[in-house]
């Protein structure tokens, strides 16, 4: 340890002023960090830190989020396109005006109105897509907050999450969290409590939605006589489910963001850990086998139901503002049981 870093240790300081509970709002997070950076530089990283960070990473579930690729090309093409269109439009209007071609001018006005509506819709879509991307970056932020062992940013972060995801500030769960948070809690602890107290409520609603949709699609397939109709029904139910889930977690979806989310969900399902899949699949097979004895159709229904449930759970982990803690994750098992019961009730006479 170098001599310089030691002299940087701040000394004891006695104050005469009154102690305030809250940090003054001016650049509050910033001051703390600025004061400590010169000191931090001199200290070699402790080996144990790395270990604990690794453990923290293992604790939370890894989620694959859609990456925003380079959009320079798209943006360039788009601007060229709009530039040309505007030029063309102005040119057409000028020519029409000069030649007194009123019909052409009328058509131009009509098309412009329609185009502006379309542009409005596209803008809205882009805005919602941006919101979704923003949500993923919040998720990433919370991951880093959990991994770091710092103090002082957790509360503000959780409050911003709460306003973003439309949590009612007066709800008992949020108030309970607010009362539990102490200034001595570290960021990871504050987030942990927010996760267990506030998001847990949303999780409960979300789990209900997932199990409801899963049983519904299972029942649909089990009783429907036409295979093609099944597929459409199930696809429709799944889209609807993801919609509802997004609503629970306070994320607005447009068309493209919906597609984006659906794609991300499928990607996550595809790369789910091998062990997780193995356990799930064996259990699935077991329960399907069980129902298969009753009827082949019921077995199919069960399979579809479980697939839907898994899709729902993956969507949940994408939609939550904070990644799952391992021990608090909603397990497929609990939903599977409900599906089996439902199917059995329908098919067993």
């Amino acid at each position: 340890m170098s001599q310089t870093s030691e002299t940087n240790l701040k000394q004891k300081q006695v104050f005469k002023e009154e102690l305030s509970d809250e940090k003054p709002p001016t650049q509050d997070e910033l001051t703390v960090q600025v004061q400590f950076t010169p000191h931090d530089q001199f200290i070699p990283a402790a080996v144990d830190d790395a270990v604990s960070e690794q453990q923290a990473e293992q604790q939370i579930e890894q989620v694959i989020r859609p990456k925003s690729g380079s959009r320079w090309l798209a943006a360039g093409l788009f601007t060229t396109f709009t530039g040309l269109i505007t030029w063309q439009a102005i040119d057409t209007v000028m020519v029409a005006w000069q030649t007194s071609d009123w019909l052409a001018l009328g058509w131009a006005g009509f098309l412009a109105t329609i185009a502006s509506l379309g542009i409005g819709a596209i803008g809205k879509e882009l805005w919602k897509l941006r919101r979704l991307r923003n949500h993923f970056s919040v998720q990433e932020q919370s991951e880093t907050l959990i991994a770091s062992n710092r103090i002082g940013q957790g509360k503000a972060f959780c409050e911003s999450i709460a306003t973003r995801s439309g949590v009612v500030m007066q709800s008992p769960s949020f108030e309970r969290w607010l009362n539990s948070v102490q200034p001595t809690h570290s960021d990871a602890e504050v987030l942990d409590m927010y996760d267990a107290m506030v998001i847990a409520e949303q999780d409960k609603k979300a789990t209900k939605i997932v199990s409801q949709h899963a049983t519904e699609s299972a029942a649909l397939v089990a009783i429907s006589p036409l295979a093609v109709a099944d597929m459409f029904l199930v696809a429709w139910r799944n889209f609807k489910m993801i919609d509802n889930l997004a609503e629970v977690y306070g994320i607005e979806l447009g068309y493209w963001s919906r597609v984006n989310l659906f794609k991300a969900t499928l990607v996550n399902m595809a790369v789910a850990g091998a062990s997780e899949l193995a356990v799930d699949a064996s259990m699935d097979l077991l329960s399907m086998d069980l129902a298969g004895k009753v009827s082949a159709r019921a077995g199919q229904g069960l399979g579809v139901g479980i697939l839907t449930a898994r899709l729902g759970l993956k969507a949940m982990s994408l939609l939550r503002p904070i990644p799952w803690q391992k021990e608090r994750r909603v397990q497929l098992g609990s939903i599977r049981k409900q599906i089996v019961e439902k199917i059995a009730a329908i098919t067993v006479k």
Binding site: M1, Q3, E6, T7, L9, K10, Q11, K12, Q13, V14, F15, K16, E17, E18, L19, S20, D21, E22, K23, P24, T26, Q27, D28, T31, V32, F36, H39, I43, A46, D48, D49, N149, R150, I151, G152, R176, N179, S180, Q182, P183, T184, H185, S186, E189, D192, M193, A196, M197
Partner: protein, 458 residues
């Protein structure tokens, strides 16, 4: 008959994993009594207050309540919880008195199990927690069990350097005059033991912790007994001990001390733990100096050798219990500002590093955290324009209210020169005056509980 019933009950409880013995380990003044008082206090209040948000069972509202139970060991005094509460609620509030003897307390915790066989059969289950309080000084005797008189003397003489060497000067000069091979001179032995005891007291005052034998400074009921009248001496191990000589007497007394005092203490209280929390006061050695820090580090390492660690299972739990989870906690976290807690953890890691290595061989779960069993200060900020200073506010032991930034905690121990230049000055505070019927304020007591007993409450 009653005793047999009790033992059978304990046996059944242990076999279904609803009985846990927590070792609260720490040197003197580390905050053992405060921790136990706070633990009991917090758990007793779970039914009425939402005071443990980081304890999962309490957060999920599965903890129904807690009560104190008559303990199983009738020969040990009950932990003075009521007295501790009295002093905390007195005006002005006082810290509980330091422990001078062994005591025990048993808690029953009723909870709603949420998985497994317990949920299937019962709507509520009970977890029994046994906690033992004892003077930290006595803990330092446990390593004596593995040393004979010669080895022990050698370690003692080897330690007499630096500050210790200065303090031991008086005793050393007197001890030189003693002829080990002559007829026993009770008076001289008594006098030298007294000088040796004084030397140990002086070591304690100088902020050193490695004080052996521990009963010399805190004799309990053994005050003045000849078993406490011995001291280390330099002799040739191969030389034949003359019967009836001073040396023979010293050796006999050491062995008696080892067998009757230390072993009994160990057997009764220390051989059957499931979980351990090691409380470390990192601020006191920072105040005292470089040597004090390393002294405490060595002492902690020595102590950890006396516990049995290893993975537990049903059979081991019943017949040869061992510690399968160890928590190292830096106490008195309320004496520094919150943003220093990560540094305090890092310093704690340095402090317990040898002990950690020793225990980690057994592949058990370990963790480090900062905590304050009873929060003595309020945290906040002193607004000075754009720059807000973090600060804590409390009442010093002398009774003066104080708002202070106590100084930064170093991430790693600075080298010796630092103390010559400026050193550290962490102020000690008295507890806040608490409202009656409210739980004591705490920092991360819930997280410590979650680590220690959280997995038994599912």
């Amino acid at each position: 008959m009653k005793r047999i019933t009790q033992e059978v009950n304990d046996f059944i409880n242990r076999s279904v994993d609803s009985h846990v013995r927590v070792a609260v380990t720490g040197l003197s003044r580390a905050g053992k009594t405060a921790f136990i008082s706070s633990l009991v206090n917090q758990l007793l209040h779970t039914s009425t207050h939402d005071n443990l948000p980081l304890l999962v069972a309490a957060r999920d509202n599965r903890l129904i309540g807690a009560k104190r139970e008559p303990q199983s060991n009738m020969m040990v005094p009950r932990f003075a919880y009521d007295e501790a509460m009295d002093s905390l609620f007195s005006e002005p509030a006082q810290w509980p008195k330091p422990t001078r003897d062994v005591s025990e307390i048993r808690l029953a915790l009723k909870y709603k199990p949420n998985k497994g066989a317990k949920k299937l059969f019962k709507s509520s289950a009970t977890l029994h927690i046994d906690i033992i309080d004892y003077p930290g000084e006595w803990l330092l005797d446990l390593p004596l069990l593995e040393l004979d008189f010669f080895q022990w003397s050698q370690t003692q003489f080897a330690a007499m350097k630096g500050v210790r060497g200065d303090l031991a000067g008086d005793w050393l000069s007197h001890a030189k005059q003693l002829d080990l091979n002559t007829e026993v001179d009770e008076k001289q032995l008594g006098h030298l033991s007294e000088l040796y005891t004084q030397y140990l007291y002086q070591c304690k005052e100088a902020g050193l912790h490695w004080v052996q034998p521990g009963r010399f400074v805190l004799p309990g009921e053994l005050e003045g007994a000849p078993v406490l009248q011995f001291f280390p001496c330099q002799f040739d191990v191969n030389q034949k001990v003359v019967k009836g000589s001073n040396l023979a007497m010293l050796k006999a007394r050491y062995e008696e001390y080892q067998q009757k005092v230390v072993k009994a203490f160990y057997k009764h209280h220390f051989s059957t733990f499931d979980r351990q929390i090691v409380l470390v006061d990192c601020l006191q050695p920072l105040n005292a100096g470089y040597e004090s820090f390393h002294d405490m580090r060595d002492a902690l390492e020595q102590i950890m050798h006396s516990f049995r660690y290893g993975r537990s299972n049903v059979l081991k739990r019943l017949f040869s219990p061992r510690i399968d989870k160890v928590l190292f906690a830096a106490t008195k976290a309320d004496h520094v500002t919150p943003e220093q807690h990560p540094n305090l953890v890092s310093l704690l890691q340095q402090m317990v590093h040898p002990a950690w290595q020793n225990a980690s061989y057994e592949n058990i779960e370990m963790s480090c955290m900062t905590m304050a069993s009873i929060q003595a200060t309020k945290t906040g900020f002193i607004g000075q324009g754009e720059q807000a200073f973090p600060a804590i506010q409390g009442t010093t032991l002398a009774g003066e209210p104080m708002t202070v930034f106590p100084g930064e905690v170093p991430k790693r121990l600075p080298n010796q020169h630092y103390w010559l230049k400026q050193g550290f000055e962490f102020t000690a505070f008295r507890p806040q005056s608490a409202k009656l019927d409210d739980p004591q304020p705490h920092i991360r007591m819930d997280k410590a509980l979650e680590f220690l007993i959280g997995d038994k409450l599912i």
